[in-house]
Amino acid sequence: MFDFILNKYNYWIYIVLMMIGFYAMIGKKNLVKKIIGMNIFQTAIILFFVSTASKKSATLPIIEHSHGHEEHAIQVASYLNPLPHVLMLTAIVVMVSTLGVALAILIKVYRRYNTLEEDEILQFKK
């Protein structure tokens, strides 16, 4: 049972982080906190992907050649899986752009309603 938790600790961490982010997005009233929650949420997912790339006693996925002409067979098991890393680079870019757009929207909201609390804004709108 302990085994189950310990072996899959990366998943547990990402789940906890994701839930924190999710809670913040939904449960918090302040808009900035929601955005932070969104960020945590997305970061958790990125962590998840990257963590799935790791292997036991593996090294960075940069192929080392000794100088010269010998072609070594590449031992795949000793290199980390680079694909999730690459995918997550894209995802990080997406995350940052979303953050940027969200913050820009927040500025507009603030200018209009002079507050960043969701319940006050809803009151305003009535």
Binding site: F22, M25, L31, K34, M38, F41, Q42, I45, F48, F49, T52, L83, P84, L87, T90, A91, V94, S97, T98, V101, A102, A104, I105, L106, K108, V109, R112, Y113, I121, K125
Partner: protein
């Protein structure tokens, strides 16, 4: 050049977005022609792609020449090509329409609007054309981000609505990403065709199950399927007219497309239909969507908001077709993607036109606009009849297939819901028609007024009127041609399992 048309469909709007930005900074008036050129070329490319697919079957286009599953592949089969043409046509129509509307509603944001417009179109086209699951996520986010930005510049209440959309949309896209991630872990592949080959052996695994669950929830958010539609009403109501005219017909339909892809291409159909009762759950959500949308629409006084709730209802129709799990129903769902795009397009264009001329969308204030805008209102009546499902408009034919599919699946509740919703839609539209065309008068003095007041026609400018008329004509023509469309395209788009 011709054989590159799959990638051209995407590249042209993308590149032209940057060109528009540069030229727009220099001279604002250049934006509109550049955008039109881009959209028109993209439309031609998508037509070309459709022709190629009909002539020679599925197109596999490898970006950079890298072969799948390592490289990203664009796979264009009948379903794709069909939706691509719809997207590019709607984009072109809204593009033509947008000039006057944007000048009036967003005078200082013209460049911004057009750049975001093109990026949005790129995103939507990319979602549909790609054959790689992660690539779909990227394009999904491109489309969503452009959408968030476009909605924000709308009227009062738009930024807050857009913020809600940001939160919801991000959750949806991230769930989709999680689904892709889980599938990658167990299969090692991101290519859709590859996944569909590898996955059947793994259907018993919990990981795959979780992945599917994440997919469904994420896509449902993007598709605005009840009850995850809550971001839709505010976001589309407060958006500028051209933006809602672009997003309403397309975004949700693209979401439906993703649903069909995931459920029936990546995962083999028997997974969702026989192994798990997911398809039946979807049908019941669809029923809720149909009824909820119609009920909420009845309560609205704002014409645009009423249309948005009708949109929720229409998404329900498509989902019902997808979930019923037989060939006829799926044909109806795919046909409805086309028909609903046209119906929503024309309705939102018309609301935009009314906004342009009168600045109000309150139904009770729209008395007698049919005298000043006869053509617009005529198309409105036509679109309303299509939503109700009166032949020979296109809406009737998708209802025909959906009802037939429900009968074949012995889903009598669904048949009843489909029929009742027609009547509910009739109430909705005739209420608007009564308000706009009629005004209760006392018993008319028969020898009095009427002819003395020859009300001058004060229609919207032709750059707005022509798209409206074209879509109106399209609703009739598509209806009569439904048989041809189905026999030429849709019957091959439905997976062979059915």
């Amino acid at each position: 050049m011709i054989s590159q048309s799959p990638v051209l469909i995407i590249i042209i709007p993308l590149m032209f977005a940057f060109i528009t930005l540069i030229f727009g900074w220099w001279k604002k008036n250049l934006c509109y022609p550049i955008v039109l050129i881009a959209l028109f070329l993209s439309f031609l490319a998508s037509l070309n792609t459709l022709n190629t697919v009909i002539a020679s079957g599925t197109i596999h286009y490898r970006l950079g020449g890298w072969s799948p599953p390592w490289g990203i592949e664009y796979v264009v089969d009948y379903l794709n090509a069909f939706v691509l043409v719809i997207i590019s046509f709607v984009a072109l129509t809204v593009g033509v329409y947008s000039k006057r509307s944007v000048e009036q509603e967003l005078p200082e944001k013209i460049v911004f609007f057009y750049v975001m417009f093109l990026l949005q179109v790129t995103g939507l086209l990319g979602i549909v054309i790609t054959g790689d699951a992660f690539n779909l996520y990227v394009f999904l986010e491109i489309a969503s981000l452009a959408g968030y930005a476009l909605i924000t510049i709308g009227e009062d209440g738009a930024p807050f609505a857009s913020f809600n959309y940001v939160i919801f949309g991000t959750i949806g896209a991230c769930f989709y990403l999680l689904g892709v991630g889980y599938l990658y872990i167990v299969t090692g592949s991101l290519n859709m065709a590859d996944l569909s080959n590898i996955l059947p052996g793994l259907y018993g695994s919990k990981v795959v199950l979780v992945a599917f669950a994440f997919f469904l929830v994420g896509i449902s958010i993007k598709m605005a399927l009840f009850p995850l539609h809550v971001w839709l009403p505010d976001a589309y109501t407060y958006a500028p007219s051209s933006v809602s005219a672009l997003l309403a017909p397309l975004m949700t339909k693209v979401g439906a497309y993703i649903l069909i892809r995931i459920m029936y291409t990546v995962f083999k159909p028997y997974f969702a239909i026989e192994m798990l009762p997911i398809a039946s759950i979807l049908t019941w959500m669809a029923v809720a969507a149909i009824l909820y949308g119609a009920a909420m629409a009845l309560a609205q006084v704002d014409l645009k908001r009423m249309l948005v709730y009708i949109l929720v209802s229409e998404v329900g129709y498509i989902t019902l077709g997808v979930g019923l799990g037989n060939r006829v129903a799926l044909t109806g769902a795919i046909l409805h993607i086309l028909n609903d795009a046209f119906m929503m397009l024309s309705l939102f264009l018309i609301v935009g036109a009314i906004m342009y001329k009168y600045g109000t969308r309150n139904i009770s204030q729209l008395r007698h606009i049919h005298k000043k805008m006869p053509f617009t209102m005529a198309v409105f009546v036509l679109s309303g009849l299509s939503v109700i499902g009166i032949p020979p408009t296109c809406g009737f034919f998708s209802k025909w297939y959906l009802i037939l599919g429900a009968i074949k699946a012995n889903g009598w509740v669904f048949v009843a819901v489909l029929l009742i919703s027609s009547l509910l839609n009739a109430i909705l539209f005739f209420r608007v028609i009564e308000n706009t065309y009629l005004e209760p008068k006392g018993e008319l003095e028969h020898d009095s007024e009427s002819f003395s007041e020859v009300v001058t026609i004060d229609e919207v400018p032709s750059s707005m009127l022509v798209p409206i008329l074209v879509t109106g004509a399209g609703i009739l023509i598509l209806g009569v041609m439904s048989g041809k469309i189905i026999s030429a395209i849709i019957q091959y788009a439905v997976p062979a399992y059915f």
